[in-house]
Amino acid sequence: MIHPSHFTAVLLFSVFASTVFGITMRDTPRRMFRYGAYCFILFVGSAIVLSWVMFLIAR
């Protein structure tokens, strides 16, 4: 059994989901890569922002 940290789990999830999104939602390799990178940044960025929001609410 593996025990990744929460942030590692976010990174792993984002990498794989972004790869599939990029390949399936765009036509050309260049646009696929750009869209995949965009999704990855949004996944990780939103996780960080929401984490801070929940941290501040909980205080």
């Binding site: 789990a9 792993l12 790869t19 599939v20 390949i23």
Partner: protein, 142 residues
């Protein structure tokens, strides 16, 4: 004076469209569902198929390694949705169920993440299979 008939510029397009419709168009969809990336492999999209297969299989395997649960039945609506997501993994899910893999009902946070990894891997596999179908029918150009 002899005249030559003008052929429309798009004369080749209907023929290409017909060619795209020939054969069993659902084969890439079914192959892509059963084996992650299989639909793209059938269409000769080797790099895309490999990337999709790596992503989906890795996500499924990580879910199992985190002691994620494989849904066995549908007692309530959430179980039904989880089961639908798991079924998207195709043969990965069927073989894993047959081998008795997967954790017990979720007891830790990481195991809950693992369960979600497995469900999302199934949903991503369905997206990939539909993409292969769209490539086969010509709805997606390349």
């Amino acid at each position: 004076m002899a005249t030559t008939p003008n052929k429309p510029a798009t004369a080749g397009k209907p023929a290409a469209g017909k060619q795209a419709q020939q054969g069993f168009v659902y084969l890439p969809l079914i192959a892509g569902w059963l084996v992650p990336g299989g639909g793209h492999f059938l269409l000769g999209k080797w790099i895309r198929g490999t990337l999709l297969a790596i992503s989906i299989v890795a996500m499924f395997a990580l879910g199992l390694a985190m002691q994620g649960k494989l849904y066995a039945g549908a007692q309530d609506i959430l179980d039904m949705l989880g089961m639908a997501g798991d079924l998207g993994n195709g043969l990965l899910f069927i073989i894993s169920r047959a081998l008795g893999l997967g954790g017990q009902p979720v007891q830790t946070t990481i195991a809950d993440y693992g369960t979600k990894f497995i469900v999302v891997a199934g949903l991503l596999n369905i997206i990939a299979a539909v993409d292969a179908h769209n490539l086969r029918t010509g709805r997606k150009s390349s």
